[in-house]
Structure formats: C-alpha cells, structure tokens
Amino acid sequence: MDLRPRSHPTYLAFVVHRVSGLLLALFLPLHFWALGSAISGEARLDGFLRWTENPLAKAAETVLVVLLAAHLAGGLRVMALEFLGWRRRQKDMVALSAGVALLVGLVFLLNVV
C-alpha cells in the first residue's frame, strides 16, 4: 500500500472509522452475548463484573470506549458532509473528532482508577 496518496486528514479519518467500525462490529455480538448470559442472576452478574476488574480487561474497556467515541465523532463528520453539506471545515472536524475520542478515553480512565 502506497501511503503517499493517502496521507491527508480525511483519509486518516476514513481509516480510523473503518478500523474502529470493524472492531466494534466484531465486539458487539460478544458484548451482547456475555451480558445476556451474565444477567441470569445478581450473583452471576457480580461474578462477571469482578472478573472485569483485572487490569487487562480495564485496558481493553478503555480501548473500546475510545473506539466507540472515535466512531461516533467520525460518523458525525460524515453525516455533516452528507446531510448538511458542511464541506469547508472537514479537516477541523477530523481534528475535533480525534480530540473528542481521546478526551472520552481520558475521562473513562480517570473515573475507572
């Protein structure tokens, strides 16, 4: 893959959107299935939640939160272009969505530890 023609901010935004979307779509059935199974009783759910207390699970959760926020913010950029025709500030919107994603990740981390 030649990166020279693919180095502009909106291309990077596309890559982030696609990779985050792919990972989230693969995670979604797992999330639903795990939650649906754990929910069968308060004790089981508590057991599951205690398992997620380990640092590796917390790190994975942080990544997921950042991915979700990035996909949300990047999606809003695409919709602003498609439905509102906001063409002029696309690169600012890319920077803004990256900032939003990292900020949400940071807030999550600050609240979880």
Binding site: D2, R4, P5, R6, H8, T10, Y11, A13, F14, H17, R18, R77, V78, L81, E82, F83, G85, R87, Q90
Partner: protein
C-alpha cells in the same frame, strides 16, 4: 534548499507488466513535470509514449502519477514535487488500463460519464430540438451555485486515479462522473433528473463513497467531487423518503 543539477527520473515503460527505467535529466528553473517527460522523449528516448495537448491546464490529457500522487503534469512544477536528491518517479494514472509507458486508457473513465447520464437533456425539447426561448437562470440561485461549483471539470481523471473505491469496485462510477451528474441535477433546464438519480444510486454509485476525499484533495481545478457525491446521497435520501422518486 539547494537544487540538484540534474534530476534522477524513473519512468514506467511498457504495459501492465512493464518496469521502471531510469533517466538523468538536467534540472532547470521553472521546469514542469511535462517538460521533463518531453525532454526524455525528444533528447533521450523517442520511443517513450505519453499524452498531452494544451500544456496550459485546459485539456486534461497530461495527467500521470508523479512520486505516488496523480497530478496534471503541465501545471506541476518539478520543484514542488521532487525528492531531496532530485528523484522523480513517473507512472501512468492508476485505476486504468495501461496502453504503454505513461499513456493510460481512459475508456472506462469516459464510459462511466455516459453511465452516470452525464449529458444535458433539455427539459423543453426532449427530442433535442432547440428550445423556442432562452431559459432564465438566476446566477445567484442555490441550485445554480451548486452546479457552478463543479462545472469547471476538465476530465483529467486525476480524481478517478486517486479514488480507492474505484480500485475496490470496478463498477464504481467514480468522482468525476458523479460530479458531472450533480451539476446536471442542479441544472433547472435539465429534464432527466429522475433517470440520472437512478443511474448514480447504489453500490456502483454514490452510496459506496466513504468520504476519504482523495478526489477533492487531488483535483487540480480545486473542485470538490466528494461534496457533489454527498449532495447526490442527500438528494436521493430525501427524494426516496418523501416519495418524490
């Protein structure tokens, strides 16, 4: 930056299974990439195939891949794109069949303009006759400004060669054809709006665009095909939802 005395130019030779060949070309001030190609063909290797006509950025025939990016070569100054040691890598446009050397076959590109219904169809005279009276189109109206924004396309295929969706889906119409369609959708004199919107809908049309905006980034005329495609999506969305189609 000190400019090197000569350029190390690698040029694609042959068809799809060709290879790069190396030439040394004297560096000059205010030299364009097309000047370099012309120097090679006239002074070093007359068998080199390439295409150009106007040399002033109007005809859209001289586009090539210059150091990895699609560009119009007649208006691209070497000093803006050359590597630190004077390297210049020239290949034919991507996403199109190679005829030979730097000449790409633009047939698929122009076929898609046809498929996207890129020809004006007068509302008043569907049979192609000249309308009896002039149409009054206020230049400041919203639709006319949308059409004007995309009207200066020279058909150089730089956007088409820069678009990854074209590479992933051979049927995809590409930015230029849909930019053209969008200008006509906004032309109040045109009578083929419905058919044209049908032609640009779906996986082979505007709905496959992922807004990477490579087309808008690379367009030498500073047009914004990405926004034109977004406009087609928007129009199709509301027309479908409100039962106007």
């Amino acid at each position: 930056m000190a400019e090197p005395a000569s350029l190390k130019v690698s040029v694609w030779r042959g068809g799809a299974d060709g290879a790069l060949q190396h030439y040394e070309v004297p560096a000059r001030t205010n030299q364009t990439v097309l000047d370099v190609v012309t120097h090679i063909q006239r002074e070093l290797d007359p068998s080199l195939a390439y295409r150009f006509a106007c040399r002033v950025g109007m005809c859209g025939s001289c586009a090539m891949t210059v150091n990895g990016r699609a560009r119009w070569t007649c208006r691209t100054h070497v000093k803006r794109v050359v590597g630190a040691d004077g390297e210049l890598e020239l290949r034919p446009l991507a996403n199109l069949p190679v005829i030979r050397d730097l000449a790409a076959d633009l047939t698929p590109f122009f076929d898609k303009w046809q498929r996207a219904r890129g020809t004006f169809q007068p509302k008043d005279a569907p049979d192609g006759a000249v309308p009896a009276d002039f149409a009054v189109v206020p230049p400041a109206s919203k639709a006319r400004r949308e059409a004007d924004a995309g009207i200066e396309c020279i058909g150089c295929a730089v956007c088409y060669a820069s678009c990854d969706v074209v590479a992933w889906n051979a049927d995809y119409l590409g930015p230029a054809a849909m930019n053209r369609a969008w200008t006509l959708v906004n032309d109040v004199r045109d009578g083929a709006r419905g058919e044209r919107l049908d032609a640009v809908a779906g996986d082979a049309g505007c709905h496959s665009c992922h807004s990477t905006q490579s087309c808008t980034e690379r367009c030498p005329k500073n047009l914004d095909p990405s926004s034109a495609i977004a406009g087609l999506k928007r129009t199709l969305f509301w027309d479908t939802l409100l039962g106007r189609r």
